[in-house]
């Protein structure tokens, strides 16, 4: 027969101070874990949200990002004639070292030169204020989140790059995609302002899903151009590796903190067993088995950790949606994203707490089960 869970709940309530101190210790570990992983989730979500299944990104062979790719000026003329293409956009990307408004140094913000076709390939991006840039006029239409975080790129501002000045004529919203970290202009803008004639990438939209595989093959094998082609989905999936240093940091920190919290939980549970020797003896005398006693103490530890896990998750929750930015080392440029606390992340946080409680509770529970009724009574 099992000891009712109510017994454990009441015990936790009676030993309020110890319960709370231990639960808070677990909560802190969970909060740190959830906060760091929310950053990872936020970065990854941005990449996943950006890719379009029918778009193909063509980069120079071996290049890992659009900003690190140099494609021959003539390449689009070759690609244009391939079968299965609905639209094609050759683009130039140059990143510009731009000071943050917060005064915490500079970061590289991408200026992407693209035409009407290029814009049509990104339906996620829509104009919210002002207008789109005119070709050849040194005009920029800037992502709203870049405009709010970087200097000289609000609507109407003059944005200086070296000896060239650009006029910010509009703001766009790109939702939760990588484009929300960019400024857009016409394809010739970067070519004349930065004497960069080569293309950075060629974006190709396939007529339908079936056309993708043959197109990829053609692009990869065409001898006149030296490029690697991949779907946007694959390209951005690859970039989620950008978050892996944060993921590693988060895991290492969480595991170390969890060890500390588990030791603390162990202390609390040993103390609980110690101070309830008499109760344990009574339980055993009433006929509960050693195993039932062990299970009871273990569930008390788990209960304690769930309380901690819930508090920790709630403590981290205000971070959800908080916008921030960091450098994506693939593109060597700024990426905006928001902390994302997903239900699955919260669930992982609570599982993590339960793991701490279980590790901390096993030994004390075993000790409780080994107390024989007679010996426990005698000890009093």
């Amino acid at each position: 027969m099992l000891i009712p869970l109510k017994y454990n709940i009441r015990n936790l309530a009676v030993r309020r101070a110890a319960t709370l101190l231990t639960a808070f210790g677990i909560a802190v570990s969970v909060a740190v874990f959830v906060a760091v992983m929310a950053l990872v989730e936020g970065m990854d979500e941005t990449f996943v949200a950006t890719g379009d299944a029918r778009n193909i990104i063509t980069l120079r062979r071996g290049a890992i990002s659009e900003t690190g790719s140099i494609i021959d000026v003539g390449a689009p003329l070759v690609v244009r004639n391939f079968p299965g293409i609905e639209a094609i956009s050759a683009e130039r990307l140059v990143y510009v070292s731009t000071p943050r408004l917060s005064g915490t140094g500079s970061s590289n913000v991408v200026i992407r030169g693209l035409g009407d076709t290029g814009r049509a390939l990104r339906p996620q991006v829509r104009l919210v204020r002002g207008r789109w840039y005119r070709p050849g006029a040194r005009e920029l239409t800037v992502s709203r989140s870049i405009a709010s975080r970087f200097r000289d790129c609000a609507l109407g501002d003059e944005f200086p790059t070296g000896s060239v000045r650009w006029k910010v004529v509009g703001l766009f919203d790109a939702g939760n995609t990588a484009y929300s970290s960019e400024m857009w202009t016409d394809p010739d803008g970067p070519a004349t302002a930065f004497s960069r004639r080569a293309w950075s990438d060629i974006v190709v939209r396939a007529t339908d899903k079936a056309a993708i595989a043959p197109l990829l093959h053609l692009l990869d094998t065409e001898p006149r151009i030296d490029v690697d082609a991949r779907t946007e989905i694959d390209y951005f999936a690859e970039q989620t590796k950008a978050s892996s240093p944060v993921r590693i940091l988060g895991n290492v920190v969480a595991v170390i903190m969890a060890v500390g919290s588990a030791f603390a939980a162990m202390n609390t549970m040993y103390a609980a067993v110690g101070s309830r020797t008499r109760e344990i003896a009574v339980l055993r005398a009433l006929g509960f088995s050693g195993r039932a006693v062990a299970l009871s103490f273990l569930s008390e530890a788990v209960l304690l950790s769930v309380v901690g896990g819930v508090i920790g998750g709630l403590a981290a929750l205000p971070l959800n949606g908080l916008a921030t930015g960091t450098t994506n080392w693939f593109t060597f440029s700024e990426m905006n994203f928001a902390f994302a606390i997903t239900p699955s992340l919260l669930a992982r946080g609570i599982l993590f707490a339960i793991a701490m409680g279980t590790v901390g509770g096993v030994l004390p529970a075993m000790r409780a089960s080994r107390l024989s009724a007679a010996a426990a009574m005698r000890a009093l």
Binding site: A17, A18, L21, T22, F24, G25, V28, S29, A31, V32, A35, V36, L39, R60, R61, G62, A63, I64, T67, G68, S69, I70, V94, Y95, V96, S97, T104, G105, S106, S107, N108, T161, G162, S163, F194, S195, R197, A198, D226, P245, V253, I256, M257, V259, G260, S261, F263, A264, M266, N267, T268, Y270, A271, S275, T324, G325, T326, T327, F332, E334
Partner: protein, 384 residues
């Protein structure tokens, strides 16, 4: 003295609890020390040499992606206060494993060997300067890839559409061991063949000034000189150049500090809990001590002392452990040369120790005061 012994005896009464608390404090302090070291290493201090203060990096004001014309080199060399100028061009590449990035820096071969803290065997340096396709490789990379002097290697380009094929002529030992050096002239030839547009340009230039004192004014002179040109420049010391990269990451310091604060909070909770449990169990003897004439102040000291003893033990294990751990395990290798050094400095150790002390005091306050306040009569009456 007897008082200290009483504290230690008390601490050792519940050995398991003391051990668990000590270990909990130790792992937390280990983490704290690691986090602070991460912050100090990001500032790049340990990668600097004495000569760093004399090195200036000049690049296009737009960004590192827009190169400067090679003609700038002569103009820079004529700036008063400048001793020597070299091209400075990154060539991102890889060797055998595309996932492990390798950086090649193309420079003026005569710039190599100017910093005494970059130790290069003189005969090897001479051979590097005599061979246009020569490479100088840091000792750690030589070991990592098992290369030897005279070996011809091909480094695959990941940004430029060509590979760099060169002969290892020399090796060096220095604080920073993440880049291989080659001749700029050789790089320029490769560029001219592959992308003629991009030839005769360099991502940046590095200047060696006469002294660290003149470096800031030399930087200002250079930038003023090019203000109205088609390619305005930004010049900054090597140190600021490196700091610029950490700044690009955004508010990492704040983020890591927030984690560290959470860790500190967790330690305080753990020790407070331990001391409260100890006080609760010893209510009767505390009452007896008071009956014997111990004053409330003594009781506070007794509890605080025990907390200090536990924290001190945790600090020795955690802080000392971190120092030893990062000495024994090579972070350079574990992170594929991304983190070059992970030195737990004396300053970090001292700060962590002081913090441990403060936390011990803070976490003993509530239980100690509770113990001091217990009334003898009530406690002893309750005992049955």
């Amino acid at each position: 003295m007897a008082f200290v012994r009483l504290i230690l005896k008390n601490a050792l009464r519940n050995r398991r609890r003391t051990l668990l608390t000590t270990l909990s404090v130790a792992v937390s302090l280990f983490l704290l020390v690691s986090l602070r070291t991460l912050i100090t290493e990001m500032k790049g201090d340990t990668l600097m040499t004495e000569q760093s203060g004399r090195r200036l990096i000049t690049r296009n004001a737009v960004s590192l992606q827009v190169p400067l014309p090679i003609a700038y080199k002569e103009k820079l060399a004529r700036v008063p206060g400048v001793d020597r100028v070299s091209e400075y061009q990154w060539i991102p590449s890889w060797y055998r494993e595309p996932n492990i990035p390798l950086m090649i820096i193309a420079c003026d071969p005569d710039f190599m060997g100017t910093d005494p803290q970059y130790v290069i065997p003189p005969e090897e340096l001479a051979r590097f300067k005599a061979d246009r396709t020569a490479l100088i490789v840091p000792q750690k990379l030589m070991d990592k890839y098992g290369w030897r002097i005279g070996q011809r290697i091909t480094l695959r380009g990941s940004v430029f559409p060509f590979d760099v094929e060169g002969t290892i002529r020399a090796r060096f030992d220095a604080p920073a061991q993440n880049a291989i050096f080659c001749w700029y002239a050789y790089f320029n030839e490769l560029v001219r063949r592959a992308i003629p547009d991009r030839a005769d340009k360099s991502m940046a230039f590095v200047e060696l000034t006469h002294s660290a004192a003149v470096t800031p004014s030399v930087a200002a002179t250079i930038d003023a000189m090019f203000t109205n040109s088609s390619g305005p420049t930004r010049s900054e010391s090597e140190k600021n150049f490196v700091l610029g990269f950490s700044a690009m990451l955004g508010n990492v310091t704040l983020f890591i500090s927030a984690i560290a604060a959470a860790v500190v909070f967790a330690i305080v909770l753990v020790t407070t809990n331990t001391m409260s449990m100890a006080v609760r169990e010893r209510r009767h003897e505390i009452a007896v001590l008071k009956t014997l004439g111990f004053r409330p102040g003594h009781v506070v000291l007794l509890i605080a002392g025990e907390s200090l003893a536990i924290s001190a033990a945790g600090a020795i294990i955690g802080i000392g452990g971190a120092r030893v751990f990062f000495r024994v395990f090579d972070i350079y290798d574990l992170t594929n040369t991304v983190i070059q050094q992970f030195n737990v400095t004396e300053e970090t150790m001292l700060l962590a120790a002081l913090l441990a002390l403060a936390m011990a005091v803070v976490s003993s306050l509530v239980p100690a005061i509770a113990a001091a306040r217990t009334s003898i009569a009530n406690t002893l009456r309750d005992s049955n």
